[in-house]
Structure formats: structure tokens, C-alpha cells
Symmetry: C2
Subunit: 535 residues, 2 copies
């Protein structure tokens, strides 16, 4: 601890918390998702004195960290979170896991006891560094009030790297409240934000050799290669060479829909995934990883490419993926003149013909009604397993999926995406089971009047687990096992849950009412929930 | 990994998961709070084949771990939890923190990917040992299918120690599904459960010297010294020697009410706590820790006993605290003939006189209506800050408070306490802010038809933080800071939230309706919620 630290001094006009908030704002981190406690009160107090920070309250910490993930996915720059000691951080870890796998940059500020208080082992004491480490790329406990601006700057630099990183800065209460020396109010050095790694020309040549082999090569793209401009190049390469073009199943953000390159996601389940990859002797990776099974299953392989398949990495998320794909296109002679398979806008009237309230029916309604420039957050799991192919002819939009496999990301990511993207409609597709991990997000939507339409697909089971029970070779569930997989006793009433948190809601029991209610929800501003009764 | 492990074999009749469930049941761990996923499906399947395990589903992992804490507090033996990989465990860590501080024994079973799958770094992969470590006393990844019964036995032994410990056993999916050799189906060695540490006779003598000094000595009791039989001895010692008698503010379980020794809890806030301890030159500890401030505050001490105060430890939670207090009573000549200050039953009619819906009014209603042998779980924070003294003349009951300071323990602990104590009414006292960390517990109450009455005190602020904002020297909150401390926009409707999860509910806006609604809730069987509009 620094000699200048004043653990028992009255608050000074300029203190460590104020320095840190100033540093965040000066470096462009102007949004903070927060669930504060006593040790964060000086950070909260600083909000009254520093302009330019939007602070958004969540009622539980999973909302806070998931919102920061959604914010980064849309803004391409980090938000801050404000969390209360080890347990508050712990409650946010699952969505930090997802954010880490999404490669979302986040600056977590976690309050701690005063440094003088830690030795007393008060009840809330825990090893915050240890709690943070598994789900952070970078962890530091602020060193002193003199160094807190630099510590904050380093956290922002880490979070702003390419790809984004989860940076956790622990802020002891006495560093927050102690008087800052004048020169500590500096706001840190300026940050070189998007240092893309230089392209590897040898990798471009190897990838060019591979895609020139045509249909026996797969170009597998991920991360920012799924943005429109980058995917355009990928489409031209595929059109020119007739190589396959796919993305991972899990994608932080895909720009897709009418006018965009069609990049089908690989399937989730092992058997269709093996089938999808069975024709390829080579896989060229651009921002994606070599495909593996999500879970291991008895008697099935974990590596999903066929035996002997060659994996060639063109570029990773550390590179400028658009430049990498443009370079590959150049190497194989693919230009803008090559016919990329762009998606066509569907015939809306045909899509809205009557039908059953099943996944294909819902997908047709989505295809017809997803507004242009909407952001779709997809945690619909079993109901939405095949939405990818079925909604490709919707108006152009972004599609955000789970990335780390931890359930409960959808509603919080929708909060963050909405805050990062004013003027754009967010459509959150949720399973009923997954919605219940972080339902408190609805309250933040109401509080911030976020323009989010939530569809909850209520099948009243953990349906994904019914399938997985068989997949792992456990046979058919008996009564006791089935009881752990069903959530119909009692039935959840999402209309009441949403109303209880200030969100207008309705229930759709057939495709016609879903169409009418979704149309009405999309026409209004602000949050709206529709419980969709599916089987 | 063991040579006998069969990662790709079909499931066998006896597999690792079955061995583990058999071991748990054989060792008396017959209750499992669960939120399973794919990697736990073989554990779930085993429930169909092993009798004697009650498995209780929670919709979020904080419910699961908090319920295991509440179960231990009432049953004095551990329950198991079943959690899904690193993120599932992470979601349960905050309530494991509380359980650890409550000294509750818990056996966490956390599924992991198959050992063969970890190297592939699939999306759900994380370092589960690292996630578990900060909130566990003991962590092990099951070593092999042959050893899993022994690993489980060791976890149960750890959790069953005195005091209880949080033991986390990670169960890789291939160990769960692989065929168990015949001799691995054994259920582990028998466990020596309650190995109390032998009493230190020199400590008894030192403590006796101290309490003989009378009113300048405080006998501070905690942990199982707060059970009726032990507290009776403490009361006799205080009656005989005129020493002070108090408990910590945070208590896992206090047996109190009419006919029990009055053991006032120390105050929470620093100034009253300093005042309460200002008369004491010596503090004798029996299962309690030397008092420290919950948080550090500028200009205030962290150690709460007066300077120079001597701390004498009679016994810790590792000892048999009833025996320790009996020994101390013997040493000072206090016998059953000494007049212990037992609480008297209040005059119910006087308690139920009309009045304002404020903390004293609510406390009078509770004093009149808490049923005999009820279990009160108290997470009422600001509203209930003074309930301790005000409800001392209620019918005899148990009172369970927060222990680790992490908010969101109340409703889950009520679930676990109800399951551990059939036939006893549970009354959960919740703040509105705290209720929203783990509201999903209401669904488990409805599903299991638990006999829990929940009072939510809706002041629509994080009122505790309004006080703390000033306490840490941040002055008065401005508009932006205040926005982070208030939860009135939109107002939460707990009647709809409860109904949405299958729990009957009503709202009380004055003391008369609170009395009527509480009386009706206590007269029925099953869960019931009352939203109490307070200021």
C-alpha cells in the first residue's frame, strides 16, 4: 500500500474512484453496467461529478456481465461493469465465460474491502483475484491511488485488444476513497486500440492452394469474418473456387439476411456435424477454430473433421479478417465481379400463410417480420435449432448466438445490444428454461425503455436435455430422471413474470396470434414479451 | 485416467455415476439440489435405479447451493448439489460463500467434460478446480471409475466434519458413464462424522477467570452454542457471574423465543457495535469470532472491541460447544439452579394492536404470529435490522440469518430449511432488492409444495446502500448516484412475480392487512407470498 493512502481520512474532492471514472470516460468507456454495494459507493458517487458515463443498473450480476458482452458485440468497444466483491463477481462469472468465448472486451471493476480491512477476515472477504482468474484474460488489484488511473488504462487497453479480452480490475475501498494527488487525476496514456496482427503471407498462399482445390475444401469463417464486408470476400472466394463456405454454430455476431452472403452455420449435433464435414479433405480457417464436438458422447469422436483432414489457418481473430479474406480472394483471382451467393428477400405474404406453431412456422413468421437492421439474440436452443437456414431470407439483420454454452446469456446480451445500438430493434429468442437463469434482465429493459421484443418459447421442459439424455447413452429417462428435465410443474407464466418487472406481455397459442402479437410488438417502441406456447 | 475407463463404450448397468449416487445414499446424503446439464445426465439416470435420494430441481444454481446451505443448517448433515460444469458452479458460488461462512457442510457434484474431451477446448471448457477453489474447503476431480466411490466418500467426510465444510467433487462425464468394476460399486468406508476437537481445559480455566470478573467481561457465543441446550448453559453462566452475553450479528441458526435463553445479537453498524462493546475489558469466545466491522469506513476502526480488550477463546466451532459451556459453567459453579434469563411469551393481543406499517409494527405482528417451532429465514436487511430484540418474546423458533454478506441467500435457504424440516413452518423475511437475486426459489417452493410463507418488504430502494453511501463518506447522492440505489422505476410487482412461478400471493399496505394476510398464510399448507409495502 502506498504511503499516501489515507484509509481513515475523510473523502477528498478528488479520490481514486473519481480518477478511475475519469479515466474510463476519457478512454471512451462511457457505459457501465452495475450492481454496486457498499465498497463501490465512491465509484457511484463519482458518477455525479463526471459527465459522460451512462450507468445501467441490473438487479443481478449475470445481467450486468451479459449486458457488457452484448454491448461489445454491437459496439466493438468495451463497456465497464461494476460488481460487489467476490460474491458479486462470482454471480457474473457465467456470462463472463460466454463473453470470453465471444471474444468480447469488458472492463470489470470489482470493489474490495479496504486494504486495511482484509486481514480481519470480515464475512464478505474472499480471494477476488482467484474468483476472477478463470473467466478473465487479465486481473489486477489496483496498486495505489496514485496508480489507479494507469491501472484503469491498462485494463481498458487489455479489453480493447483484438480480439477483445475480459479485464478485471479490483478496486479496494480505501484506494477508491483516498485523496488523489493532483498528478494522479491524469487519465492514463492513450491506447492503441485495434492492433491487428500482420497477415502471414505464407498462410495466405497455403490457404489459396487449398481453396483452389474446390469442393473438397471448406472455408470456415468466424469472429469478424462474419461481418458483411468480410463475408462478401468469402462469398467471392467460394463463387470463384467452388470451395465450401460455412461458419461455426456458435457466433458472437453474424451480419446476414437479404443482400448478404449466405454463410450457413455448421450444425450443433454430432451426427449432422460429421455429415456436414464428411466431404472435406481440407479446412481453411478464417477467425474460426477447427470443429470439435460440443460435448463428448460415448462411441463418438470429439474431432469433427474427417480423419486426415488438413487444417490450414488463414487468419485468427487477432488478424484483420476482412483484409485476410480480401488477400485470399486476390490470391485466387476472386473479385467483386464474381457472383457471391447473396441472400434474397423472401416473399413476405407467402411466409405469413397459416400453419402450425412449430419451428418451421415460427421461422417463417420471423423471416417475414424481422425488421431491417434488427439485432436478433438467439437463445432459443431446441426450438430455434434450425432457424439459421430457415431465416436466411429475412431483411438484413445481425444474429447473435451463445458462444460459451452457459445458459442465461440471451436476455442480458439483448440489454447490452440495445444500449449499444439506439434506433435498432432487438429481438430476443429465448427458451423458457434458459430465460429463467436471468429473468431480471426484463426489469432493466423496462427501466431503460429498451426497444427489445422478447419471444419466450415455452415447451415446459429442458428439451435439450431430453435429447442429450439419449445421446450420452443413458437410455430413456424413468420417472425420477424425467422429473429433473421437466419444468411444467408448476407451469411458468411469463406474462405475469414480465408484467411483474414492468414489461408488457401477451401469450400466443397459434401461429396467427404469434404473427399479430409480434407485428404489434415490433411496431411499438420499448420492451415487449410474447410467451409462445410450443411443444 | 484409469486403463479401465471406457470413454467410447456403451453405458453399462453399473457405471461411475451409479456408484457415486449409491455412495451418497449409503452415507446418509439423501437429498440432492440440482440444476443438471448434459454432462450430468448419467447422475440423473442413476436416480431411477437407486432408491432413497430426493432430488430437488432449481431453475438457477444460486437456488441449488443456497438450498443446500439451508438444509445443513436445519438437518446438521450435508445435502449434495448437482451442477453443470464451470459456469453452473460459478452461478452457485455466491451462496457457497455464504454456506462456507455459515460453516454448512455441502457435497457439490460438478459434472465436467469427458477427460478425453478437455484437450479439444470445446466452448463450455473451463478450469473447474480454479472456479471451485475460492468457495470450497476441499476440491477434487474424481480420479477414475474405480476410485469414484472413495472420492465421493472423502467428499462426504469433508462435508460432515465439525464444523461443516464445502466439498466439491468434479465428475468427468466419462467417469460417470464408464462401466464400474464390481468392487468399485462398494459404497466407501464408514465415516466418523462428528469428531469434535477435545476441550482445552486450560482455555476453560482462562475463560472461567474472565467471566468471574462479571460485567466487564462479555461471553460471545456463536455457531452451535446458539442451540437451546448450549445457550441454556451460557445463560446460567451469565446469571451466576453477571458477565455480558451476546451473539454475533450473523448467525447460521439461533434457537430462540419463549422459554429460551435471551442472547441478543450484536449490532450490525459500527457505531452501535462500538458502543455495545465499549464496557468490556475481556471477551470470551465460544464458537464466535472476535468482533470486526463488516466493512471498513473512513476514520473508523476495523476491530470493534475496545483498545486493550483481552480476547479469550473458550472453544471454536471445531469443539462440542455445549460441552464447553457446560464445563465453563461447572468451573464457575453455575448450575441448572441459576436463574437464566429465559424469554417470556408475549401477550399476543397487545402485540396485534393497530399501528403503523413500520419495523416496530411488523415486529409486533411477527412476535404475535410466528408459529411455535417455526423456522425464520431473515434477509430483511434494513427493514429487519432491529427485529432481533423486538421479536424475542415470540413462540420458540429458529432464526437463520445471512452469514457471508452475499445477498440472495434468503429464499434459497428457506427452500433447503423446509426440505430438511417437514412439518415445520418456514417464514422467509426478504427485502425487495435481495429477493430479486434469486427469485427462482419461489418456483421450487411451488413445485415441492414447501410450507414457506415469504414476506417481501418493498421499500423500492437498495436502502442499505443509501445508508452506506453516507457511512463511507460519499456525502449525499446526486441524481445519477441515487439512480443506482433506487429500484422503483419500474416498481416490482411481487404478487405477479410469485403468481408467475406458481405461488399464491397478496399485497399488504397497512398493518391490519399484513396481520390478516399473514394469519391466513400461516394457517395454510404450502408456499405463500405477501408483498409488504414499507417506506
Amino acid at each position: 500500500m502506498s504511503a499516501a493512502l489515507q484509509p481513515h481520512a475523510p473523502p477528498s474532492p478528488d479520490n481514486g474512484a473519481l480518477c478511475l471514472v475519469r479515466t474510463l470516460v476519457a478512454q471512451g468507456v462511457d457505459t457501465c453496467f452495475a450492481n454496486p454495494g457498499t465498497s463501490e459507493m465512491h465509484f457511484v458517487a463519482a458518477l455525479d461529478r463526471v459527465d459522460g458515463m451512462r450507468c445501467v443498473l441490473g438487479l443481478a450480476e449475470g445481467i450486468v456481465t451479459g449486458a457488457a458482452d452484448g454491448y461489445y458485440r454491437m459496439a466493438d468497444r468495451p463497456a465497464a461493469t461494476l460488481l460487489h466483491l467476490g460474491p458479486g463477481l462470482a454471480n457474473g462469472l457465467a456470462n463472463l465465460h460466454n463473453a470470453k468465448k465471444a471474444r468480447s472486451g469488458i472492463v470489470n471493476i470489482v470493489g474490495d474491502h479496504a486494504t486495511t480491512h482484509l486481514a480481519l477476515d470480515a464475512p464478505l472477504t474472499s480471494d477476488i483475484v482467484a474468483v476472477a482468474t478463470p473467466m478473465s484474460h487479465w486481473v489486477r488489484s489496483a496498486r495505489s491511488v496514485e496508480a489507479v488511473a494507469d491501472d484503469g488504462t491498462e485494463a481498458i487497453r487489455q479489453a480493447s485488444a483484438r480480439p477483445g479480452r475480459v479485464a478485471t480490475l479490483i478496486l479496494p475501498a480505501d484506494i477508491a476513497w483516498s485523496a488523489a494527488p493532483d498528478d494522479a487525476s491524469a487519465q492514463g496514456a492513450s491506447i492503441d486500440r485495434l492492433r491487428a496482427k500482420p497477415l502471414d503471407t505464407a498462410a495466405v498462399a497455403r490457404a489459396a492452394d487449398a481453396v483452389r482445390r474446390g469442393p473438397t475444401t471448406l472455408l470456415l469463417i468466424g469472429d469478424r469474418a462474419l461481418r458483411h464486408a468480410a463475408a462478401l470476400w468469402a462469398g467471392r472466394i467460394a463463387a470463384k473456387t467452388r470451395c465450401g463456405l460455412r461458419s461455426d454454430f456458435f457466433c458472437a455476431r453474424i451480419e446476414r439476411g437479404a443482400g448478404r452472403t449466405v454463410v450457413p452455420r455448421l450444425p450443433y449435433a454430432v451426427d449432422p456435424l460429421l455429415a456436414a464435414l464428411g466431404d472435406y479433405d481440407r479446412i481453411v480457417l478464417a477467425g474460426a477454430k477447427a470443429p470439435v464436438a460440443f460435448f463428448a458422447y460415448p462411441g463418438k469422436p470429439g474431432v469433427m473433421s474427417k480423419p486426415g483432414c488438413e487444417i490450414i489457418e488463414l487468419a485468427s481473430p487477432e488478424h484483420d479478417l476482412e483484409a485476410a479474406l480480401a488477400a485470399l480472394a486476390g490470391a485466387v483471382g476472386a473479385t467483386a465481379a464474381d457472383t457471391a451467393p447473396l441472400a434474397q428477400r423472401a416473399d413476405t405474404a407467402a411466409m405469413l400463410a397459416d400453419g402450425d406453431l412449430d419451428s418451421p412456422g415460427i421461422a417463417r413468421v420471423l423471416t417475414a417480420l424481422i425488421p431491417e437492421n434488427a439485432i436478433v439474440v438467439d437463445e432459443s436452443l431446441t426450438t430455434g435449432r434450425s432457424f439459421d437456414g430457415m431465416t436466411v431470407n429475412a431483411a438484413p439483420h445481425d444474429w447473435l448466438t451463445g458462444t460459451g454454452g452457459s445458459i442465461g446469456f440471451g436476455l442480458p446480451v439483448a440489454v447490452g445490444a440495445a444500449i449499444a445500438s439506439p434506433g435498432r430493434k432487438v429481438v430476443a429468442l429465448e427458451g423458457d428454461g434458459s430465460a429463467m437463469y436471468t429473468p431480471q434482465a426484463l426489469w432493466t429493459m423496462a427501466r431503460e425503455k429498451l426497444d427489445v421484443t422478447v419471444l419466450v418459447f415455452a415447451n415446459r421442459t429442458y428439451k435439450i436435455l431430453l435429447g442429450e439424455f439419449a445421446n450420452v447413452g443413458a437410455g430413456a429417462p424413468g420417472a425420477r430422471a424425467y422429473d429433473m428435465l421437466s419444468i411444467d410443474r408448476p407451469a411458468l407464466d411469463f406474462v405475469q413474470l414480465a408484467n411483474g418487472m414492468g414489461v408488457e406481455a401477451s401469450r400466443a397459442g397459434d401461429l396467427r396470434s404469434l404473427t399479430d402479437q409480434l407485428r404489434s410488438a415490433l411496431a411499438m417502441q420499448g420492451p415487449r414479451l410474447i410467451e409462445v406456447l410450443v411443444n
